[in-house]
């Protein structure tokens, strides 16, 4: 029964991936819609980032001194100025660890 559910979940996930790619044709996308689609990364990723930083594993707000907040802010600043993905991730993780292990 659970094996069936993996396959159904897999088919469902695959459908979310292939449906738009196969069904949308260029002429279906107006200039206005194209402008709005430009924002897709800017709406999807913050929807994962914000709860990932501001909430704990149980969905409650973390405190302002939480290492995740410090790590995320460091990553934002470093990323903004260096435009370097590795530096962004590494600086965020290391500042997060500094708060956890040093303080």
């Amino acid at each position: 029964m659970t094996w069936t559910s993996i396959f159904i979940a897999g088919i469902l996930t695959y459908f979310t991936r292939m449906s738009m790619v196969t069904m949308i044709r260029k002429e279906m996308i107006s200039d206005n819609l194209r402008k709005i689609l430009n924002y897709v990364p800017s709406v999807v990723f913050p929807s994962i980032i914000f709860p990932g930083v501001l909430l704990d594993d149980f969905g409650a707000f973390v405190t302002i001194s939480d290492p995740k907040i410090f790590g995320a802010l460091t990553a934002l600043v470093i990323g903004f100025f260096t435009r370097n993905v590795i530096l962004t991730i590494v600086s965020g993780l290391s500042s997060y660890w500094i708060v956890i292990f040093v303080f």
Partner: protein, 228 residues
Amino acid sequence: MRSKYEIFKIGIKDVAPHLLSVFPFGIIFGAIGIELGFSPLFTYATSLIIFGGASQIVFLQLLSGGASSLIAITSVGVINSRHFLYGAVLSEYLQKLSLIKKLLISYFIVDQGFAVSNQYFKKNPTEEFNHYHLIGSGIILWFIWQVSTVMGIYLGSIVPEELGLKFAIPLTFIAIIVNELRKFDHVLVMLVSGLAATFFYNAPFKTYIIISPLIGLFAAMIINKLKK
């Protein structure tokens, strides 16, 4: 004009930094699957068949917690519904491909691959073989995800929990969007969707993952109307 192979390699190179967080996340996922009491084969099968990190964790957690398969499957569908948005964005660039190629490439559409390949497509809209970028980024992400899942399954928690490496996932996404912070309208839209996600986090079936981007897109629509 770049060759297929060149663009394929650029795809791998562009997404490579993100493997820094995908790799430990895969190990963590494999270890979680075994900890929750699933067999190695069952745990691994989710990586091959579902191939969507966060949704796989939720899937196994729900099943092990005694939730019905229907609830577990629905949650996977909701969490992964963000791919509809990715597909809509990518469709324009994949339009010229045959149906078979579209169907094959679609399997490899994941967050980080979508993000870096979309950036490449925007900069090189006329390259004939630009879909090879998505194949490159997608295949390397797929490969690392499979390998790291298997490592997590067999090596268990070699990644100590105290390191909190789950936090690498928000960080990899911060790295993806940080450049857009230079545009005021994008900053506004990010704040709207991020705060909406935090607010709706406890909505059933993880629906916050699709409700909040839609709220964000609605905000973007209004902002674009006002700009005119």
